[in-house]
């Protein structure tokens, strides 16, 4: 194994060394990996069992039985599927620290399989438009197809998953070519299939960069649109009077926070257990820590903006919504969310010693992830528990706020199972595609140079274009 410097892979080793080193690390599978994969598989199977039991005992007609299911779907959508944004956004502003984190982030696009899978039963749970519920299709009897929200929802979930997978594929093309050329066995065969034709001509490089830009922008748009569709047609219509124009944006921006947190935890695991500590350094944690702080501030700003209008407005429908989602049955959950998603990240991350460490930001990210799960539970379980016969348009009596719904065994199994499934598919993905972006690392060694400036050492960062 080649020697890798403290700060960055490019300092001392040549770029070929880096490539070989990374390819070697990539093909090595440890025992810890095997054990955790087995455990996750068992949990995933248990989750499937829980789902089967749920569907056989309760059917799909009861909304309130499916609240937790919807919540965990939204959780995966907001965290794992938000993670590729951590590769896309810094790439657009050409931040160099992204280079060793971008693949780890993009690989989370694989969780698109899980969300698509989980979304299928939800289609059957949700009522059609004929009940007079609000919808962004401005439904009047017979004007649009009854199940149009279901079609559009499904389409956008699938399109987002596909966009993520394509992005992952395009950005890993050159790396797959390395594996094809430097590995043997099934990895080579696999890489041969997917890296077909890659030779590294300048046209191919140009196209890779070009496609990554377009797919990245497309992924972001799909992310925003999917969250919008899910919120406008699968969350808000259940609550009479929840008319919150900001919430689709809040939901989508939560995905940025969730994505940053997911990537931070992933990086920590890679550093601690995956043997990539030479690549994942302060720089990455620091950059992502700043992003986590920024997104936490975004969270409080968006949430407060919504809350302020409802609190000040005091219309009956607004009071109902506030009571249902915040101050009523889910008060303690809301307080937990507030602390985990805002208070903890804010008051720790403004503090440099925490932000400038390799353990600080990932630890905070764990809090944020738990907080995001609670947040989704608070919203979805509450919304799905509103009686289906609630009048959506008339005055809303406050005593209609339903009691808190606690999870039963099936819910817990499903929740853990789905999360385990997402993590499992990520782990399997790391076996096929290197979890550190090899070609971006090589590119870094071109554009990041350390040199002498009179009496001091400075880093020179090149900005092509």
């Amino acid at each position: 194994m080649t020697h890798i410097s403290q700060n960055s892979a490019s300092d001392h080793g040549t770029s070929n060394d880096v490539t070989l080193d990374l390819v070697n690390r990539h093909s090595h599978t440890g025992n810890l990996f095997r054990i955790s994969a087995v455990i996750l598989s068992i949990l995933f199977v248990l989750g499937i069992a829980g789902f089967v039991l749920r569907i056989t005992t309760d059917g799909t007609s009861n909304n309130d039985k499916w609240g937790y299911y919807a919540a965990v779907f939204a959780f995966i959508l907001t965290t794992a599927q938000g993670a590729p944004m951590v590769a896309i956004a810094p790439r657009i502003v050409k931040a160099h620290w992204r280079r060793s984190t971008s693949r780890a982030a993009e690989l989370w696009a694989l969780s698109g399989f899980i969300t698509t899978l989980v979304f299928v039963p939800l289609i059957f749970v949700l009522p059609g438009l004929e009940d007079g519920r609000r919808s962004f299709w401005f439904y009047h009897e017979g004007e649009v197809a009854r199940y149009i929200p279901h079609y559009v929802g499904a389409l956008s979930v699938v399109a987002m998953a596909l966009a993520g997978l394509f992005l992952l594929w395009v950005s890993s093309l050159p790396d797959l070519a390395y594996i094809r050329d430097h590995q043997t066995g099934w990895r080579q065969k696999w890489a041969k299939v997917f890296a077909r034709g890659w030779q590294g001509t300048s046209w191919q490089w140009f196209m890779v960069n070009h496609r990554m830009g377009i797919l990245g922008a497309f992924y972001f748009m799909m992310l925003v649109f999917t969250h919008f569709v899910i919120v406008a047609d699968f969350l808000m219509p259940f609550v009479p009077g929840w008319i919150d124009a900001l919430f689709p944006a809040t939901h989508a921006f939560n995905a940025l926070q969730g994505g940053v947190a997911t990537v931070l935890v992933t990086l920590f695991v890679m550093r601690k257990f995956g043997g990539y500590s030479d690549f994942i350094q302060f720089d990455q944690m620091w950059g992502l820590g700043k992003l986590l702080l920024a997104t936490s501030l975004l969270w409080i700003w968006f949430s407060f903006s919504s809350f302020m209008i409802f609190w000040f407005g005091k219309k009956p429908n607004e009071l109902y919504t506030l009571d249902l989602l915040m101050t009523g049955p889910y008060l303690w959950l809301f307080i937990a969310v507030f602390i985990l998603v805002f208070i903890v990240p804010f008051f720790t991350l403004i503090w440099n010693p925490v932000r400038r460490s390799t353990w600080g930001p990932p630890l905070i990210a764990c809090f944020v992830l738990v907080g995001t799960l609670f947040d989704r539970i608070r919203l979805y379980v509450a919304a799905y528990s509103v009686p289906a016969d609630a009048d959506m348009h008339g005055p809303i009596p406050l005593d209609l706020v339903p009691a808190a719904v606690y999870p039963d065994v099936f819910d817990i199994l499903i929740t853990i199972g789905v999360i385990a499934g997402a993590v499992l598919i990520y782990m399997l993905g790391t076996r096929l595609i290197p979890v550190i972006n090899i070609w971006e690392q090589r590119e870094l060694s071109i554009y990041q140079v350390h040199k002498r400036f009179h009496r001091t050492e400075v880093q020179v960062l090149g900005k092509p274009e």
């Binding site: 401005f138 900001l246 944006a249 302020m308 209008i309 020179v460 090149g462």
Partner: protein, 457 residues
Amino acid sequence: MQEYIEHGPKKINRDLLAGVLGLPRWWMPIASVALLVILIAMCAYGWELNRGIGVAGINRPVYWGFYLANFVFWIGISHAGIMVSAILRLTQAEWRRPVTRAAEVLTLFSLLAALSNIFFHLGRPWRFLWIPPYDFARGVWPNVRSPFIWDPSAIGTYLIGSSLFVFIALIPDLAVIRDRVSGKTAKRVYGFLSLGWRGTPRQWKLQTVAGILLSALVLPVFVSVHSIVSWDFAVNVSVEGWHSTIFAPYFIIGAIHSGVSAVAMVMALMVWGWKLENYITRDHFDAIGRLLIVVATTWFFFFALEFFYAIYTLEDPEIALRTMQVFEWPYGPMFFVFIVASYFIPVPLWLLKNVRRSPMGMFLTTISVNIGMWLERFLIIIPGLARKTPFTFDWGTYHPSIVEISLVCFTFAFVTLGVLVFSKFFPLVPIFDVKEGEVFRDEIKVGRRTVPASIRE
């Protein structure tokens, strides 16, 4: 690809202080015109003070008119400075260097212009002192639950914060003027203002840290200011078109849209007026053009979200309001102009590299954006009030009076004059920042290609 022009400190001093040590030929005529407009408008204001707010076009139910639309517009422009200098400082974008000061100064004067609108707007402006909490003697206090109390606290914070920000970044340049200026009094004044700046490594270190720290501190204030301004409207439960949760981010992104456009406009004017084309190059216009595409598109997303959720409820008053906003005379044509001028004309043009890279192209497109954004504020405030209640017998309309129009002109003249006067006494381009850019500029050779690079500590 960036153009490289090495100037050297002497030339930088000479070029950037040209407006301070000398006076461009057009300065006097333009300043006089601005002053004339201000004087005329002040007569109009005197008339309003004398006769009462009745001289304005406002009526029942359109109690808020041009003044408040103009207030929101200028608060929006004031977000330019902090947007450009703080965000670009935090993201270490190299192209920010020559434009930060002008943007910050624009912030200061547009904030003052916005504040002046409050005085035009009040029924009894001489009693504005009842808003701050000072009345210990009688124990009569303001109402902290009112958005009009949050407003002064936020705008005051922003005004103080951004003036201090400008001052701190001005200190090294004041020292440059102190060393260049010839008059004895002037030397003494600049010497006093520059606090005896010498330029030791410690001072420079703190100057750099200050730039980042103050940016990080002013940024949340900047977000809060326009959020609170938006809440002046959004907390109104009675006005259908206003009571929307999205108003805070929507106003912010709209403010950034119009503000960054205004900065691009000022950049073009600086290039022409002070012949700064070697400092504010086509690359800078290119960069701000790219930024504007992102900002404009985000703004459009929020605009669509706001509009969509308004009709999502399918409630009759809301539909009536939107129908009027989009289809009825005179708001319909205005709406069309607004949406075309602020998005559908400029953004496709910005996608063209030639437009982005030409000062004239950027100047015209950004003027179009600001016309559109002024109309946006008008179209949020006035139709909302005119179709305020479900009571059709209380629907109304609005025609601005000559007094209102001249006071709107006042704000434009005021900001023009303010920036001009500032440029006479202080450099509009931060001298030390440009010099720093030259020191930190580097390049990396890869084969036959030279990649522009910059030094990072």
